[in-house]
Amino acid sequence: MRIRCPYCGERDNGEFSYLGDAAPQRPDGLEASAEAMHDYVYLRDNPAGTIRELWYHASGCRSWLVVTRDTRTHAIESVEPARDVARARRSGEAA
């Protein structure tokens, strides 16, 4: 599998470290219920199909990336810098 880093171009997946699902949002630890924290920390979906997940380009530009990948075929639909995703989410919340 190869991942097209938005900064470095197409690279072997051995250059990347895998973190997991990019969807979970950390709840406010002081406000959230135990159930919500438990969900955030432990519970993950395991879809057969498209998933957005976090990869780290450890041997390259050391950027966190959000990779949209099909778990059945490993076909990669898109790769975005995680900081752009986070900024877009923050500005969406602010709006």
């Binding site: 470095c8 171009g9 690279r11 041997s59 530009c61 950027s63 810098p81």
Partner: protein, 206 residues
Amino acid sequence: MSEPATTPTPAFLWRPRGAWEGIAKIGGHGASADAPGIRLTLREGQGLATIVAADGREADLRAILAERFGLSVPEAGATAFDGERGLVWSAPGQWLAVSPTRQGFDALPAALQGVAAVTDQSDGRALVRVSGPKARTLLAKGVAIDLHPRAFGPGRAAVTSIAHIGVQFWQRDAGPTYDIAVARSFAGSFWGWLEHAAAEFGYEVA
């Protein structure tokens, strides 16, 4: 209170050493040493520094580097050199500054205060220049990056790994000539890969 114990420091411990000293052997090696396919030039005494832009200050960084240092800031995956002095892209908002003299960037930290973090790497990286007719073939044995001229030519830069050792390399000219920077503590291990990979072409170390 007793006097603190002091041990006289032998002067030889503080003798400056080149990054490749005791590792690389000057001269011809490997197959066809008469007409070497690879030339390895040890780049000692260079001034190196990493520049990391503060969040949102990249435009200021570009302006200061252009006005005060005559340096243009390269885009992702590129270099911007004026002779042997310039910048190599290393990550988003991060560059490696290269100068032919150790004092080349002494003024950078003060000039970029609040705009970027500057860290001297002159003793942190080992630099070697790879040229010769087999330079591309040699490098292709180590990196999983397309080095064909249509994909990677003069002025291109990449951060990747060779033999599990993190490297930053950039192409200087169409010869092709490449400069490779490796963490100095890995210089010995990296040289192990380099000399074995170059042996089949014959190589000259200068």
